[in-house]
């Protein structure tokens, strides 16, 4: 089995939102690195796929972008969460937790099997 897992379809947006929420305004590279770190380097992210995802979130009004200067003095585009994005994150997180909780019940060995 691969030791690094690909991102599941549809979860990248949630990870991006959560990352920006916990880290504050962040540039694309930072977001990508952070996602990999948070996953304990279990996820392998193709950084290029991040840009269309960011654009989509921006089009949907979940995040906003502006140019700024990075920690080591490079000009970079920073993304921050909007109010819509915060609401979207809360909702998706809730949905996701619910989904995993349900799945966990099915998979847990101590389930009351008939």
């Amino acid at each position: 089995m691969n030791d690094k897992t690909d991102i599941w379809q549809g979860t990248l947006a949630l990870m991006v939102l959560k990352t920006i929420e916990s880290m504050g305004p962040l540039h694309g590279y930072g977001i990508a690195r952070r996602i990999e770190q948070t996953s304990g380097n279990l996820l392998s992210l193709n950084y290029g796929t991040l840009y269309p995802a960011l654009l989509k979130l921006e089009q949907e009004g979940c995040i906003a972008s502006e140019w700024g200067v990075s920690e080591n003095n490079r000009k970079a585009k920073f993304y921050k969460l909007t109010r819509t994005g915060r609401r979207q994150l809360a909702k998706e997180a809730r949905d996701w937790q619910q989904a995993t909780a349900i799945l966990a019940r099915f998979l847990s060995p101590s389930g009351d099997a008939a």
């Binding site: 694309g28 950084y47 796929t49 654009l55 089009q59 490079r74 000009k75 970079a76 585009k77």
Partner: protein, 880 residues
């Protein structure tokens, strides 16, 4: 909502401009640098640091592309690029673009305008509740399949039928309205109390007639049409409850009909009164037929079932009452009654405009094909550079769509114009007979039709060149001089198109020829009189003289003498009904002939002594009426040739006696025979007609007929003024010239409309067909310039070159005409019902069309042939 917002942003992204692209490049670059910095910090050598970062990114260009696709909508972006290219392309070829748009636009506008008429007439439902359940009731006698009912028969049908939920009767009639200044004849209708309920129409103001309001004892009530309410009461609700005097009876206004209500069968009636059995002395008689029946079918009962039931009842009544002898009944769908007459014409016109659109599309298709031919190299280059076939075909589709969109816009705008023009041509009289045409508009159905033909046209225009460009291997297009072979292929294909165009033009020309000829025949039908220089005016005598024969006659004589003394008047006559109007009928018997109660039905008119001389009729035998034939003398009659031949075969009728079939009728002596006069419709055979002396049997409604030495139109107002000077209580209406009357009869009018419209289509078709032929021949000449040059260099004479080109054209023309003539003989059978006095395969017309089209086509091909013959061989060989 979020998704919608994203789509909007993406749509906005379609805006051309590279700002977003540049920003992305900067962003990726910045992030890449940060990644490289990190890699360097973790100890990688610079080369590897960069390589690793780019690998991790997944490549700069693919990233940008994925981003761009998300940024806009890729399909739309391609489409816009193609559209921009197509528009630029068309703008660079204004000649081609204008011709194509104009030709296609004309074809579309004709089709859309005609379809709007079809929609208003045949598709849009009549403004009644469930119009499909409404039927008209008629009595039938030999030669008259749709005759009015008698009031007693109406009551019996209403009582005995098992198929209707309601049966009502109505009659359209002029009513004399007393006004402040005297009297005015207004359009009116008499209807039984349930009439509007049966139609499913409720007044917008006031109330409907109540049950029993049509009984003899009930007070007189009247409902106004919306137009009358607006015109006479300025739309004031206070009109309700007011009293108007109609035909001498005071009637209370109880309601106003809706604005969109119309009812063709009564004409444009302003006053709708309840029909009382006492309103007309005719109503109580079973032999007097003046009413139209209207009924609503029970649920699930078909028109056929109802028809069978009514025929059964009519059969029983026939056995019971001698007056009903030979009388059947008939039930006809009401929609059929209203629009049945113009349906065949509309269908012919729709077919005609469809053929015109076909020619136009074919014409533009061949233009597009020629252009596609000259763009083979462009397509080959694009294909070689990696343009997919779908993408290249997409270019043709886009260009076709742009062309069609422009044409459709032009077509819709001009269709609106055309519709207004046609309505103007129809005239007020005919609009009154076809009130459903007031609903004519570019509504959703018409727009949908326009969209459908646009899609079809776009399909034709894009499929042909797209398909053509894939036939031979595209790469051949790159090879120099390959135009020759491609040219041949196209020439064969284009030639087929031209044959199709010419054949269609032939069909339209033949149709126009047949309709034109039958219109001519109709106008030149033997009238038995000279209709020029006749002015007519309808008269209703005042209430004071009504019912008093002596007074009616005296007033009529006064009117005749006053009119005769007007300047420019040669002679004056009166008749109860004007020529070409049809009119009343009577049952007659010839005294001295065996008679068993048969219904010998003949047309019937009360005419003055001056009637025949004023019309310039032709006396065959005996004499005309004189002023001496009055109430003091035994009754005399004049008969026409048709009556003489039918009821006096082999006898001299003059001096013989006849009578009406009723037992009490006095004998009447025949004093003269006239040549048949067109008393009925122009396109019908003349009905035997009996003329009664007006002074012996007068009527308080009649028409004045005045022969003027000149300027009969100008005489009309003078005439009305002179009559009203005698007594302002005399109502005069409908001042018209006899020519005007004839031109406005439904027969003449419908023939004229169809002849002119199909003629117009045919003319355009001829123009387009010959233009198409010119195009093909000219293209053929241009691709064969070198060949012709070689031939001439080898000694071919100009004559030979002419022959070469004209032979090619001649083949196309001959096959176009031959196929067209074959098709038109088949198509003309569809026209059969519309033709008058012309056979559907009229050899004169067929020959004429062949000659006209042949000459026009040869002229069109002569021009390129001349150009070919004047080719300078040296130049031709040097070219290319």
């Amino acid at each position: 909502m979020k998704r919608f917002r994203a789509w909007l942003v993406r749509l906005a992204g379609l805006r051309p401009g590279g700002r977003r692209d540049r920003e992305l490049t900067d962003e990726i670059e910045a992030n890449l640098q940060m990644h490289i910095d990190d890699n360097l910090r973790s100890g990688m050598p610079p080369e590897q640091a960069r390589r690793h970062a780019i690998l991790k990114l997944g490549g700069v260009e693919p990233t940008k592309e994925a981003y761009r696709d998300r940024g806009t909508i890729p399909f739309l972006e391609n489409l816009m690029r193609d559209t921009r290219f197509a528009i630029r392309h068309l703008r660079k070829n204004p000649g081609f673009a204008c011709t194509a748009v104009l030709v296609l636009g004309v074809g579309m506008s004709a089709s859309v305008a005609i379809f709007a008429f079809v929609d208003a007439t045949l598709i849009k439902p009549l403004p009644y509740r469930n119009p499909a359940g409404l039927v008209g009731l008629f009595e039938t006698v030999q030669f008259c399949p749709r005759c009015p009912l008698s009031y007693p028969d109406y009551l019996d049908w209403k009582k005995l039928n098992k198929v209707f939920t309601a049966v009502d009767a109505f009659e359209g009639n002029g009513l004399t309205l007393r006004t402040d200044s005297g009297a005015e004849v207004v359009g009116g209708a008499l209807v039984t109390a349930g009439f509007f309920k049966t139609l499913g129409v409720a007044p917008v103001l006031g109330r409907d007639f109540r049950a029993g309001e049509d009984s003899p004892a009930a007070p007189r009530t009247v409902i106004l049409s919306y137009a009358a309410w607006q015109k006479r009461y300025a739309g004031n609700a206070a009109a309700l409850g007011q009293t108007v005097t109609l035909n001498g009876d005071p009637s209370v206004i109880i309601g106003v009909l809706p604005q969109d209500f119309h009812f063709a069968a009564t004409g444009p009636a302003e006053f709708w009164t309840a029909l009382h059995t006492t309103s007309n002395s005719c109503y109580p008689q079973r032999g007097c037929h003046s009413l139209h029946g209207l009924a609503r079918l029970r649920d699930g009962v078909s028109v056929q079932t109802a028809d069978a039931n009514i025929k059964l009842i009519a059969g029983e009544l026939e056995k019971e009452y001698p007056s009903n002898r030979g009388q059947g009944g008939s039930v006809i769908s009401f929609t059929e009654l209203e629009v049945g007459r113009i349906r065949p014409i509309l269908i012919v016109l729709l077919c005609g405009s469809g053929l015109l659109l076909l020619i136009a599309s074919v014409n533009v298709t061949s233009l597009v094909l020629v252009r596609a031919e000259s763009r083979r190299r462009e397509m080959a280059v694009r294909s070689a550079l990696g343009g997919s076939r779908a993408r290249l075909a997409g270019q043709f589709v886009t260009e076709a769509v742009v062309l069609v969109a422009a044409s459709a816009t032009l077509g819709l705008v001009s269709a609106k114009w055309l519709m207004r023009l046609l309505i103007g041509l129809i005239g007020a009289d005919q609009m009154a007979a076809m009130p459903f045409l007031y609903g004519l508009s570019l509504n959703l159905r018409v727009l949908a039709f326009a969209a459908a033909i646009s899609v079809a046209a776009a399909a034709v225009l894009s499929i042909a060149p797209a398909w053509r460009s894939f036939l031979p291997d595209l790469r051949k297009g790159l090879a120099e001089g390959s135009r020759g072979s491609a040219g041949t292929t196209w020439r064969r294909f284009g030639a087929n198109l031209v044959v199709l165009e010419l054949a269609t033009a032939v069909v339209l020309l033949v149709g126009a020829g047949l309709l034109g000829k039958s219109f001519y025949r109709l106008l030149h039908v033997d009238m038995g009189m000279q209709p020029d220089h006749l002015a007519t005016l309808r008269i209703a005598e005042p209430d004071a003289t009504r019912g008093n024969n002596a007074k009616v006659v005296a007033l009529a004589r006064e009117m005749i003498s006053r009119t005769a003394s007007l300047p420019g008047v040669q002679s004056v006559g009166i008749s109860t009904t004007l020529p070409v109007h049809g009119g009343n009928t009577m049952w007659i018997r010839v005294l001295g002939h065996a008679f068993h109660g048969e219904h010998n039905e003949v047309g019937y008119r009360e005419v003055s002594s001056g009637y025949f001389t004023t019309l310039h009729a032709k006396l065959l035998r005996g004499r005309y009426f004189t002023e001496a034939d009055d109430a003091s003398k035994p009754p005399v009659v004049i008969i026409d040739r048709a009556l003489a031949e039918k009821y006096f075969p082999g006898e001299n009728p003059v001096g013989m006696q006849m009578a009406y079939s009723g037992a009490t009728s006095p004998p009447m002596q025949v004093v003269g025979i006239v040549e048949d006069i067109k008393e009925g419709a122009l396109d019908e055979t003349t009905w035997p007609t009996l003329y009664v002396a007006f002074n012996q049997d007068p009527d308080d409604h009649f028409s004045l007929i005045v022969r003027a030495s000149n300027g009969e139109q100008a005489l009309l107002p003078t005439l009305a003024a002179a009559i009203r000077r005698i007594d302002p209580g005399i109502a005069t209406f409908d001042p018209r010239t006899m020519r005007g009357i004839i031109d406005n009869t439904p027969a003449a009018y419908l023939h004229r409309c169809s002849a002119w419209l199909v003629g117009g289509f045919a003319f355009l078709a001829l123009l387009l067909g010959t233009a198409g032929l010119y195009g093909v021949i000219a293209y053929s000449v241009s691709t064969r310039t070198r060949e012709i040059g070689v031939r001439m260099a080898l000694g071919a004479q100009r004559g030979t070159v002419y022959r070469l080109i004209l032979k090619e054209a001649g083949w196309l023309i001959a096959s176009g005409i031959a196929i067209g003539l074959g098709c038109s003989v088949a198509a003309a059978t569809l026209l059969r019902d519309l033709l008058f006095g012309v056979r559907s395969a009229d050899p004169e017309i067929l020959m004429g069309v062949a000659v006209v089209l042949g000459v026009a086509a040869l002229l069109a091909s002569y021009i390129p042939a001349r150009r070919a013959a004047s080719v300078n061989p040296v130049d031709a060989l040097r070219a290319e």
